[in-house]
C-alpha cells in the first residue's frame, strides 16, 4: 500500500460509531468546518451550516498518539490547511477539503499549543507556526514544510511555556508574542521583519521577562476590541493585565472547587471563562479594566482583591455528563463574516459536540442559555437511513433483535478471498469477502436470499473473541488448515478451517488474550510450530500447534505487554512492557536444532483486494476497510485472460470439430463434470438459504457436514473483485442507456447508497469518509443546485463532487479498469464463468495449490472414477487445464449462437463506460457537482509502470487540458512556471508557452 500504487479504500463502518474522546478542537475561519482531535489519535472533520447544524464528514488516520493541539495552517480560504500535533511529537499538515496529508514530521518533543502566524516581506506572504510544548522555547516552524526555522528563547529563568498569544500591531511592522511559563513568568518577544526572514538557527531572546505569579496558566488571550488588555486564566483564578506594561488590573478567584480551563474576551467589557467540568460563565469586567472608562488602571498596585465582577451568563452543562470519562474541551470562536456568530464549542469524551451561540445583548440577571446544537458521532450514525452497514451485518442480526452481533476481531485470507470474523458472542464466521461486501454495498438478487453468502460458523469461545490468526498466511510451515483464535474467556482455540472442527483448546493464561503472534523463521523447529499468545494478565505463552501443548509460559510481568521481539539465534524471547521495561526469556526448547531456511519464500505479491479490520479504540468493534489495488486488479485480470484458452481455439469451427471428434471422450466427461458442479452448487445454495442461527448440537453437526460442500461453491475472486469495484466507482444515473447496459450486459450492480470511500496520502496517512458524509454532501449539493435532492440522486456520482484528489483517483481507476476489461474476452460479470476461476499455475514456492479444492469432495460421489479424475486435476496442472478447457468448450457450445453478439455488446459497453468517465462527466454532472481531476496527479502518472494506468492518466490529462481551455492552460502554466528550472532561454520558453496554450 505504498503511496505510489493506486489504492482505493472503501470502508464499512458498521452501526457503532468509532470512539472519539475529544482532546482538542478548532473551527475554521469560514465557519464551515469544525475539526476535532481525539485521545486515540484520529481527527474528525465536521461540516457546519450557517444555521449551526453540524454533521461529521470524515475521519483522518495517521497519528499514533493522542492529539494535543490543532491549528489552521494557511491564511487564504481557497486552500484550507490545518496542522495537528500529537503526544508522541508527530506533526501533520492536512487539507481540510479531502483529508489529504500534505506533509508530516516528527520531533523528539511534544507540542501542546500551536498558533498560526502570517507575515509579509514585501509582496510575499509566508506562514509560520509558533509552537510551545514540553521544551523551554517557542519553536518557529515553516507552515508548509514543517521545518523548524528558529526559536524564541528565554535568557532569564527559561522554562516550559504554558500558553502564548500573538499580538498583531497595526501601527508598526512589529508583532509581539506574549507567553507565560509554567513557573508563572510572563515573557515577551518582538518579531520584526528581520527576525522573520532569519533562516539560520540563531535564537531570538526575549524583550521582557516579568513574574506575574500565575502558576498553572491555562490560557492567555489578547483583547482584540480594546487592543490594551490581556486575559490570563489559571486553574484557580483569572486575571486581566494591561497589555502595555503588564500590570495587574483585576484578579478573580473561583469560589467553588471547580478549576478554570480557559477563557476569552467576547466584547470590550466582557469575558467568558469555562471550567473543567464544562460550565461557562460570562463576566462583566470592572471599570478599572476598561480603557474607555475614567477608572482605568485605578486599582493598579493595590494589594486587595477587587470585588468579584458581576456574572452575566451561566452556560449550563448537560445533564448526562456523568457518562464522561475525562474533562470536555471548550473553545470560543468569532465568525468573521455574516451572520457573525459568537460561538462557544465543546467536545467531550463521548464524541459529542455542543454549540452555544452567545447573544450580543444580555440581560442583567444571570441566566442560563440553552444549547444551540448538539450531536454525537453515535447519534449521527443512528440517524442514518439506511443504517451504516458492517461487513457481515446480514449474517449477524439475530431474529427478534435490532442490533447485529458486533465483530470484535478479524483476519482476511487473501489467497482464499475469505474473511474470518470473531464476534462478541464468541462465534467465528468464515465468509467469502467479496460476496459479503457485495451484499452490503450493492443491490441485486442476493438481497432476496437469507443468510447469503454461504458461510461457516465456528463456535467454541464463550465470550468475545479478541484476536484471530491464520498462521499459514504468515509462513507456509504451518498447516494450512489451522486457524487460531483467542478470547476474553482466557482460552486460545485451534480450528480446522476447512471442516470447522475445533482441534484443541489451550487454557494457559489468566487473562483475556490480547495478541497472537507468529514466531520468526529461524527459531528452533519446536518453536517454529508454535504461536505466541499474549494475555492481559501480563503473561506470554508459546503454544505448540503440533504438540498441542504450551511449551513456555512467561508471566509475572508487572506491566502490560506491549511488544514481543525475538532473538532466535540465542533462543531468546524479548518482552517489552508498557512502562518501558524489557524482559528476556529463554524459549527453553529442549531440542536445540536450529533450522536455517534456504532460499526466500515467494514474497506475497500485491493482492487485488485486502480487507483490513480497524478500530480506533480497543473497546470498539471492528470496522472493515476494503483496499483495492488497481494495478493488482489489472494484473490479475490480464493473467487470467492469458491463461484462458486462446479464443481462436474456441471459434465456432474448432468447436464443432472438437465436438464431433471427441463426442464420446472429452466433452461427455466435461458435460458430466459440469452437471455435477452445477447440481452441488444448487444444493449448497438451497441449503444455505435455509440457514438458521440455532445453537443446537445437531444443527451444528449438520452444518459441519454440509460446510464440506460449501467449499465447492467456487467463485472467481478476481472477477468478483472487479465487479464490486467497478459497481462502486461507476457514476450511476447520468446515462440511462449506459446504466442498463452496465446492469444487464456487464453484470454490474447499483449501490444501495453512496459509498464511503477513503483517500490514502503520504506516509500511510489516510482519510476515510464517515457514513454520514452523504448527509452533508446532500445538503451541500441541494444548496448548490437549488433543489431538494434525495439519496438516490447522488448514488455513485456523489463522490465526484468531494474533492479533486478523490476525483482523480476514482477516474483513473474506473478508466484503466474499463480499458482492461474491454480488451478481455467475455469480460462481463454475468454468466457461469463468474463461479469458477480459470486454472492457475502452481505457485513458485511449490506449495500445493488451491487449498479450497482439497477437501472439496462432492457429498454424493455418484461416479468414483469421475471423482478421481477431479481430484487428479487438482494436483496436475496440465490436466486441470485440459479439464477447464473442455469446460469452456462446452460452455461456448451452449451459448454459441449469442456468443458473438454478446462479446461485441460487452466490449462496446466498457468502451462507453470509459468514455463517459473520461470526457463526458464534467458536462453531465455540471461543475457544481464535479471537482475536476488534479493535473499534477495525472502528470505524475504519465509514466506509471502499469500500462493501463498510464494510458488512463494520459487520456484523462488530455481531456482535462481540453476542458479547461486556453485560459485554464495559461493559468496552469503561470502557476507552475516559478518551479521550473531557469536554464531555458526566455525566447524559446515564450514560444513554448504559446505552443502549449
Amino acid at each position: 500500500m505504498s503511496g505510489n500504487n493506486l489504492v482505493l479504500p472503501i470502508v464499512l463502518w458498521g452501526r457503532t460509531a468509532p470512539t472519539h474522546c475529544i482532546s482538542s478542537l478548532l473551527v475554521m475561519d469560514d465557519f464551515s468546518t469544525i475539526i476535532t482531535g481525539c485521545h486515540d489519535g484520529q481527527i474528525c472533520l465536521w461540516d457546519m451550516t450557517p444555521e449551526l447544524e453540524i454533521c461529521p464528514r470524515a475521519m483522518l488516520f495517521g497519528h499514533t498518539a493522542s492529539i494535543t493541539c490543532l491549528s489552521k495552517a494557511s491564511a487564504c480560504s481557497d486552500k484550507q490547511y490545518i496542522v495537528s500535533a500529537s503526544e508522541s511529537g508527530e506533526m501533520c499538515l492536512w487539507d481540510v477539503n479531502d483529508g489529504r496529508c500534505i506533509e508530516f514530521t516528527k520531533l523528539a518533543c511534544a507540542h501542546i499549543g500551536i498558533q498560526y502566524y502570517q507575515f509579509t516581506i514585501g509582496t510575499q506572504r509566508e506562514g509560520r507556526l509558533l509552537c510551545n510544548g514540553h521544551y523551554p522555547e517557542i519553536l518557529v516552524v515553516d507552515a508548509t514544510s514543517l521545518e523548524v526555522l528558529y526559536s524564541l528563547v528565554s535568557k532569564i529563568s527559561p522554562d516550559w511555556i504554558s500558553s502564548m498569544s500573538i499580538i498583531r500591531s497595526h501601527r508598526t511592522q512589529e508583532d509581539t508574542v506574549v507567553a507565560v511559563s509554567v513557573t508563572g513568568i510572563l515573557k515577551v518577544w518582538i518579531i520584526t521583519p528581520e527576525v522573520s526572514r532569519m533562516q539560520d538557527l540563531d535564537p531570538v531572546f526575549e524583550e521582557e521577562s516579568k513574574p506575574i505569579y500565575c502558576q498553572g496558566c491555562q490560557s492567555i488571550s489578547f483583547c482584540t476590541f480594546t487592543q490594551s488588555s490581556l486575559l490570563v486564566v489559571c486553574s484557580k483564578y483569572w486575571r486581566v493585565f494591561d497589555a502595555g506594561d503588564y500590570s495587574l488590573l483585576c484578579s478573580v478567584s473561583n469560589d467553588n472547587d471547580q478549576s478554570w480551563t480557559g477563557g476569552e474576551f467576547i466584547a470590550a467589557d466582557k469575558v467568558i471563562i469555562w471550567t473543567e467540568d464544562g460550565c461557562s460563565y460570562i463576566y462583566k469586567l470592572p471599570a478599572s479594566c476598561l480603557p474607555a472608562s475614567e477608572h482605568f488602571r485605578s486599582d493598579v498596585g493595590k494589594t486587595k482583591e477587587g470585588s468579584i465582577p458581576p456574572l452575566v451568563y451561566r452556560i449550563a452543562d448537560r445533564s448526562d455528563k456523568q457518562l464522561l470519562i475525562c474533562p470536555p474541551v471548550t473553545r470560543f470562536f468569532f465568525s468573521r463574516r455574516e451572520p457573525f456568530h459568537k460561538l462557544l464549542i465543546q467536545g467531550d469524551s463521548a464524541g459529542r459536540m455542543s454549540l452555544w451561540s452567545i447573544p450580543d445583548t444580555s440581560p442583567l440577571q444571570p441566566q442560563s442559555t440553552s444549547v444551540s446544537f448538539t450531536i454525537s458521532l453515535q447519534e449521527a450514525f443512528d440517524k442514518l437511513t439506511p443504517v451504516s452497514s458492517g461487513i457481515i451485518d446480514q449474517l449477524s442480526v439475530l431474529p427478534g433483535k435490532d442490533e447485529p452481533i458486533k465483530v470484535t476481531a478479524s483476519v482476511y485470507i487473501p489467497s482464499q478471498g475469505r474473511l474470518v470474523c470473531g464476534r462478541e458472542d464468541g462465534s467465528i464466521i468464515l465468509v467469502p469477502a467479496t460476496q459479503t461486501a457485495i451484499v452490503q454495498l450493492l443491490q441485486g438478487e442476493h438481497m432476496l436470499r437469507r443468510g447469503w453468502p454461504p458461510h461457516r460458523t465456528l463456535r467454541g469461545h464463550r465470550n468475545k473473541v479478541t484476536c484471530v490468526l491464520y498462521p499459514y498466511q504468515v509462513s507456509p510451515r504451518y498447516d494450512q488448515r489451522s486457524l487460531v483464535s483467542g478470547g476474553v474467556d482466557f482460552s486460545v482455540i485451534v480450528w480446522d478451517i476447512f471442516t470447522g472442527e475445533m482441534k484443541h483448546i489451550f487454557c494457559v493464561h489468566g487473562g483475556e488474550i490480547t495478541q497472537l503472534i507468529v514466531p520468526p523463521e529461524n527459531c528452533s523447529t519446536r518453536v517454529q510450530h508454535c504461536v505466541c499468545s499474549v494475555a492481559s494478565d501480563h503473561s506470554v505463552g508459546l503454544l505448540s500447534l503440533r504438540e498441542r501443548k504450551c511449551i513456555m509460559l512467561a508471566s509475572r510481568h508487572l506491566f502490560p505487554i506491549q511488544v514481543i521481539k525475538w532473538r532466535p539465534a540465542d533462543d531468546y524471547l524479548v518482552v517489552g512492557c508498557s512502562d518501558g521495561s524489557v524482559y528476556v526469556w529463554q524459549m527453553d526448547t529442549g531440542e536445540n536444532q536450529r533450522t536455517i531456511k534456504e532460499g526466500n519464500l515467494p514474497k506475497y505479491s500485491h493482492n487485488a483486494l485486502v480487507v483490513q479490520a480497524m478500530k480506533t479504540n480497543l473497546t470498539d468493534p471492528d470496522m472493515h476497510v476494503l483496499f483495492f489495488d488497481v494495478e493488482a486488479v489489472i494484473i490479475q485480470l490480464l493473467t487470467e485472460e492469458a491463461q484462458r484458452p486462446n479464443p481462436m481455439l474456441v471459434s465456432p469451427e474448432t468447436l464443432q470439430k472438437s465436438q464431433a471428434g471427441a463426442d464420446k471422450g472429452g466433452s461427455l466427461l466435461a458435460h458430466k463434470i459440469f452437471k455435477q458442479v452445477k447440481e452441488t452448487m444448487k444444493e449448497t445454495i438451497k441449503e444455505h438459504l435455509l440457514d438458521e442461527d440455532e445453537d443446537e448440537e445437531e444443527e451444528m453437526r449438520r452444518r459441519e457436514e454440509k460446510s464440506k460442500s460449501l467449499s465447492l461453491l467456487e467463485y472467481n475472486l478476481t472477477m468478483d473483485t472487479a465487479k464490486l469495484f467497478m459497481s462502486c466507482l461507476h457514476a450511476w444515473g447520468l446515462n440511462e442507456q449506459l446504466d442498463t447496459i452496465c446492469l444487464e450486459r456487464l453484470g454490474m450492480l447499483r449501490p444501495h447508497c453512496p459509498i464511503s470511500f477513503g483517500l490514502i496520502s503520504r506516509g500511510g496517512h489516510m482519510s476515510l469518509m464517515l457514513p454520514t458524509f452523504k448527509e452533508s454532501l446532500l445538503r451541500q449539493l441541494s444548496l448548490a443546485t437549488g433543489r431538494k435532492l434525495s439519496l438516490s440522486d447522488i448514488v455513485g456520482k456523489g463522490t465526484y463532487g468531494v474533492s479533486r484528489a478523490v476525483t482523480t483517483h476514482h477516474l483513473l481507476s474506473v478508466i484503466s479498469l474499463a480499458n482492461t476489461l474491454m480488451g478481455m474476452t467475455n469480460a462481463t460479470f454475468v454468466g457461469e464463468h463468474m463461479k469458477k476461476a480459470p486454472a492457475r499455475p502452481p505457485r513458485p514456492g511449490g506449495t500445493p495449490e488451491t487449498p479450497r479444492r482439497t477437501p472439496a469432495a462432492p457429498p454424493q460421489p455418484s461416479n468414483p472414477a469421475l471423482q478421481a479424475q477431479i481430484k487428479q486435476g487438482n494436483y496436475k496442472r496440465r490436466e486441470t487445464l485440459t479439464c477447464s478447457l473442455v469446460l469452456v468448450v462446452f460452455l461456448t457450445v451452449c451459448v454459441k449462437r449469442v456468443c458473438v453478439c454478446v462479446v461485441v455488446i460487452v466490449c462496446a459497453g466498457w468502451s462507453q463506460l470509459a468514455a463517459m468517465h473520461c470526457v463526458m462527466l464534467p458536462d453531465l454532472l455540471g461543475l457544481d457537482k464535479f471537482r475536476p481531476p488534479l493535473l499534477e496527479m495525472l502528470a505524475r502518472r504519465w509514466q506509471d509502470r502499469c500500462l493501463e494506468v498510464r494510458e488512463a492518466a494520459q487520456a484523462l490529462l488530455l481531456a482535462e487540458l481540453r476542458r479547461i481551455g486556453q485560459s485554464g492552460r495559461k493559468e496552469t502554466i503561470d502557476l507552475w512556471a516559478p518551479y521550473l528550472p531557469q536554464y531555458v532561454d526566455t525566447v524559446s520558453s515564450r514560444k513554448y508557452h504559446n505552443f502549449v496554450c
Binding site: 523528539a108 514540553h134 498553572g216 470519562i325 469524551s349 483448546i505 489451550f506 487454557c507 492481559s536 502490560p560
Partner: protein, 298 residues
C-alpha cells in the same frame, strides 16, 4: 497454571456468573470506585509530592533559596586524567571546576565557569515539570470527587502514567548529539579561561548520575589519506569519531568520562517506579471488572 488438557465439557459450568455473583461483583466494583481508588490516589499523591519536593530542596536557613550541593566527579577506568567538581542548585549547574591532565605533555589544564554563567540541565527541568503535571492531574480528583466508571479511572491513570514515564525517560535517556551540535551548544563559551579549541565538554544526567564528558580532539590535516566519515549523534562518542566544523576536520583522540551519583535523583527515580506500579495495580484491579462492566452501557 491451568491444565491445558482440560476437556471442553468442564468449561461451561464455570462460564457464566450467576445472578448472586453479579450482585457481589457490582458491590465490590462500587467499593473499588468509591474507596479504593481514592486511597490509591492519596498514596500516589504523597509519593509524587515527595518526588517533587526533591527537585526544589531549600537551603537550610534561607527558605526561598535552593540548596547548593557540590559533587566530586570521578571514574573507575580513566586514570585520574579528568577531575571535576560541579555545583548543582536544583536544575542549574552554578559552578564547574575541571582539571584536565593532557597525556603527552603532562600539563594540567584548569578551567571553571565564568562568574556570570550558569548551565541549566534541561533533563532535570523536564522531569520536574512532568512530575508537577502528574500531580496537577491527581489534585483535580480529590476525595470529594465521585468516579462514575472504571473507564474514567483508567483514563486518569493513563494520563498520570504518561507523565511519569516521560519524567523517568528524561532522566534515563540523555539527549544524543552530534559533535558539531555539541560544539555549537554554548557550553564551550561558559568557561574562564576559555576552553582550548581542541577540547570539548558535555554535561548530562544518566539515571541518577551527573556525568561530565571531556573530548580531546586533534585536527585532521586537509591532505590526510584517512577516510573522512562524520560521526552521527550519540550520547558518548568514542575515540576516532570525526566531524567537520568551520571547514576544519577533527577527530576525537581521547574521551574521558567522569560521574557522580546525585542522591536525590536516585530517590526520585525510585518514587517514579513506585508510583508507576501503583497506577498499574489500580488499572489491573479495574480490569478485573472490565468484562463485568462491558455489559453495562459504560
Amino acid at each position: 497454571m491451568l491444565n491445558p488438557q482440560r476437556s471442553l465439557s468442564e468449561l461451561p459450568k464455570t462460564s457464566t456468573a450467576s445472578q448472586v455473583e453479579r450482585v457481589v461483583l457490582e458491590e465490590e466494583f462500587n467499593w473499588l470506585l468509591k474507596e479504593e481508588v481514592h486511597a490509591v490516589l492519596k498514596q500516589l499523591q504523597d509519593v509524587l509530592k515527595e518526588a517533587s519536593r526533591r527537585f526544589s530542596m531549600p537551603t537550610p536557613g534561607f527558605e526561598n533559596q535552593l540548596k547548593q550541593e557540590n559533587f566530586i566527579l570521578g571514574s573507575s577506568t580513566s586514570m585520574d586524567q579528568v577531575k571535576g567538581v560541579l555545583t548543582l542548585q536544583g536544575e542549574v549547574l552554578t559552578q564547574a571546576d575541571i582539571n584536565l591532565k593532557v597525556a603527552k605533555s603532562s600539563q594540567v589544564l584548569h578551567f571553571q565557569f565564568r562568574e556570570d554563567k550558569q548551565w541549566k540541565l534541561q533533563q532535570i527541568q523536564d522531569a520536574r515539570n512532568h512530575v508537577n503535571q502528574a500531580l496537577q492531574l491527581l489534585s483535580s480528583r480529590d476525595e470529594s470527587y465521585h468516579f462514575k466508571s472504571g473507564a474514567e479511572v483508567n483514563k486518569l491513570m493513563d494520563g498520570v502514567m504518561l507523565q511519569l514515564t516521560r519524567a523517568r525517560n528524561r532522566l534515563t535517556t540523555p539527549a544524543s548529539m552530534t559533535l558539531p551540535e555539541l560544539a555549537a551548544s554554548g557550553l564551550m563559551k561558559m568557561f574562564s579561561p576559555p576552553i582550548p579549541g581542541d577540547v570539548m565538554v558535555n554535561f548530562y544526567i544518566n539515571l541518577s548520575k551527573l556525568c561530565l564528558t571531556v573530548y580531546q580532539l586533534h585536527v585532521l590535516p586537509p591532505n590526510t589519506t584517512k577516510n573522512f566519515k562524520p560521526a552521527g549523534s550519540s550520547v558518548l562518542h568514542s575515540p576516532g569519531a570525526m566531524f567537520e566544523l568551520n571547514n576544519n576536520r577533527f577527530e576525537v583522540s581521547h574521551v574521558h568520562k567522569v560521574e557522580c551519583v546525585v542522591p536525590w535523583l536516585s530517590d526520585t527515580l525510585v518514587f517514579f517506579t513506585i508510583s508507576l506500579q501503583l497506577c498499574q495495580q489500580l488499572k489491573d484491579k479495574i480490569s478485573v471488572f472490565s468484562s463485568f462492566w462491558n455489559y453495562r452501557p459504560f
